[in-house]
């Protein structure tokens, strides 16, 4: 007797080979048969007309904190995602000594735009080591988690405050090597580091104080355990990106490890930049290195209101300073002050920033008076009112007690032909969703659905089988998740059943579901029918989330 039989589906098995009609049998958490199944099953799923595929793997997320209060990493699973990689960009929640907790929360808040209150009210701090953290999240896990260890966190544990001031001594490097090995033995899939991020006081994060020999020593540990190195490179500059590719290639070849850099964007102002970067990736891959650039499927859309700091304002020092360090009252006062207000407007109305203001759309307000303006562009509202763009943005914010939400759509990475070509490139790793981060700026959920709706159906940049392969078996191979990513007998039973004609991402909306009365932007899935994790249904369109808690820490 099988646990689950999925019958008559169009099987896209993750290998990239053509789809075929068949059944998938599942027992004890494993796929036991793919083909024609005559055996009885406790639970049968009729997949006629639907695609049956391996569960999708999301390699770049920041669900670290959310996993402490939500073991399903909602809404990741309902989008068909069965495995997530948290701990990217040099930041993980372990290993972490009690005295460094608030320092790390400050960094998460600054870099990943995670609200402080969620940490304060949603997190019971009852771990220090990586092993303790993993044990803690494992209790209530319905999604699989392949966690990275953050380089900044390793430094903080070993060097304390000094981690943000200097290179490590030989003894400190050795201590970090030992600590990294312990994390890997407790379940870490690899190490993440960052060359761009800044902490809450706008100082470089600890990983940026590591010299070449420190990272080399840590890669030695990754090599022993066959684990992955992830970096955030200077993605805004092609020459620096190429230099990081060369650096990663050297580490990959020397230590025999897989490396990945994220994110790689298509920049509308400099279309040649991405070609230059990919040319180098191709050369290094051909030379035998493993250097995987991660490319996200969705274009860059950013939303903001003046209640929370937005990275959109990082180039406007006075604006960013009041958003980052001012209270609600301070911001209202600055916007109303007869002297500061014109100074703020003057700082914002520059040749560089004006295109941003003219692109903004008012997406959400709280007063009835302004409800009729929702969906209109700031330019139209300004024209109707006879006020300037920035002035109108300030006025609306004051009228809404700072709860006026603005959307800047298509900020980049929106050249569909170019992005489509990248997504199908054999040297590109599809990822970089940033799931669970930037929750007050944009929805980081639904990138897998968007791959199918935009790039398989609309653009026809890649076929269904190729798209599935990219986010299942390719990802599993890159990350060393050896029994995932394929529908094969003996593999773990992580399966997503979906409708190829309708899978996609729903509209973005703002919802209050974060601890500490926090809110975030999310998207629902469309066209996903059933998601099986570890041999049990974790979510179905008909029944929603189930009680199944079969999530595992990977690689096992």
């Amino acid at each position: 007797m099988l646990d689950i039989a999925i019958r008559n589906g169009r099987i896209v098995d993750g290998s990239g080979l053509p789809a075929f009609i068949g059944d998938v049998g599942i027992k004890d958490g494993r796929i036991v048969r793919v083909g024609r199944i005559t055996e009885e099953a406790t639970h049968t799923i009729d997949a006629a007309g639907k695609v049956v595929a391996p569960g999708f793997i999301d390699p770049h997320t920041h669900f670290d904190a959310q996993l402490l209060w939500d073991g399903a990493a909602k809404p990741a699973i309902e989008h068909g995602v069965t495995t997530i990689v948290p701990g990217n960009c040099s930041l993980s929640l372990a290993p972490l000594k009690a005295e460094h907790r608030m320092k790390l929360v400050g960094m998460f808040n600054q870099i990943e735009e995670m609200p402080l209150k969620a940490f304060k009210e949603g997190v019971e701090w009852n771990w220090e080591t990586f092993d303790e953290f993993v044990t803690r999240i494992k209790k209530d896990l319905s999604v699989n988690v392949a966690p990275l260890v953050g380089h900044s966190v390793l430094r903080l544990w070993v060097m304390g405050e000094e981690s943000m001031k200097r290179c490590a001594t030989a003894d400190e490097v050795q201590a970090m090597q030992k600590l990294l090995a312990e994390c890997i033995e407790a379940g870490a899939v690899g190490l993440s580091t960052s060359y761009v991020d800044m902490d809450e006081t706008l100082q470089p994060v600890p990983s940026r104080y590591a010299d070449e020999s420190e990272l080399d020593a840590l890669c030695e540990v990754l090599s022993t355990h066959d684990r992955v190195l992830q970096i955030v490179h200077e993605f805004y500059d092609a020459d620096l990106t190429v230099a990081r590719i060369d650096q990663l290639a050297a580490l990959s070849l020397k230590h025999g490890i897989t490396t990945t850099l994220s994110p790689l964007f298509v920049n509308a102002d400099d279309n040649g930049a991405v070609d230059k970067v990919m040319k180098r990736v191709k050369e290094q891959m051909a030379a035998g290195a493993r250097v995987w650039p991660q490319v996200q499927t969705r274009p860059i859309d950013i939303s903001f209101c003046f209640e929370v700091p937005s990275l959109l304002f990082i180039r406007l020092p006075s604006w960013y300073a009041i958003m980052r360090f001012g209270s609600h009252e301070d911001i209202v006062a600055a916007f109303s002050d007869p002297e500061r207000r014109p100074a703020l407007i003057a700082e914002a109305e520059t040749e560089q920033m004006n295109p941003l203001w003219s692109r903004l759309v008012l997406r959400q307000v709280q007063t009835d008076a302004n409800q009729g303006l929702v969906g209109k562009s700031l330019a139209d509202i300004a024209q109707a009112r006879g006020t300037g763009l920035v002035e109108t943005m300030i006025d609306l914010s004051l009228e809404e007690d700072l709860q006026a939400h603005f959307l800047s759509a298509d900020m980049g990475h929106n050249d569909n032909a170019k992005v489509g070509a990248l997504l199908r490139d054999p040297n590109v790793h599809i990822g970089a969703s940033d799931g669970g981060a930037h929750i007050l700026s944009f929805s980081t959920y639904g990138d897998t659905g968007y791959l199918f709706s935009k790039f398989v159906r609309d653009e026809q940049a890649l076929g269904l089988e190729a798209a599935v392969k990219k986010i299942t078996s390719d990802t599993a191979a890159i990350w060393g998740l050896h029994d995932r990513g394929l529908l094969r007998a003996g593999f773990a039973a992580d399966v997503t059943v979906f409708d190829a004609d309708t899978i996609g991402r729903g509209p973005e909306y703002y919802v209050q579901d974060v601890p500490g009365d926090g809110s975030r932007y999310v998207r629902d899935a469309t066209g996903v029918d059933t998601v099986i994790i570890g041999g049990a249904v974790a979510w179905s369109e008909a029944a929603g989330y189930t009680d199944a808690r079969r999530g595992q820490i990977l690689p096992t």
Binding site: R166, Y209, L215, D246, A287
Partner: protein, 74 residues
């Protein structure tokens, strides 16, 4: 597999406690010291124009330091 890679813009990585002068002395020994520092800074605005960190020195140990100007646009 052993084909040499086409040249990319050459760079170095800082050694502990490096500053512009020490990198210039090591990497551009034939150029007069002052000129060498000026050249390095002009090729590395991403470091040179960055606000000083808490430790004072604007060069971080993890930085990429270019040793030549960007290639002319083709």
């Amino acid at each position: 597999m052993s084909q040499p890679l086409p040249a990319a813009r050459s760079f170095t990585r800082p050694q502990p406690n490096d500053d512009w002068a020490s990198i210039a002395a090591r990497e551009l020994p034939d150029v007069p010291a002052e000129d060498a520092v000026g050249m390095l800074q002009s090729w590395n605005f991403h470091v040179f124009m960055r606000p000083a960190s808490a430790s004072g020195n604007t060069i971080l140990p993890s930085d990429i330091i270019f040793l030549e100007a960007p290639a002319a646009e083709g």
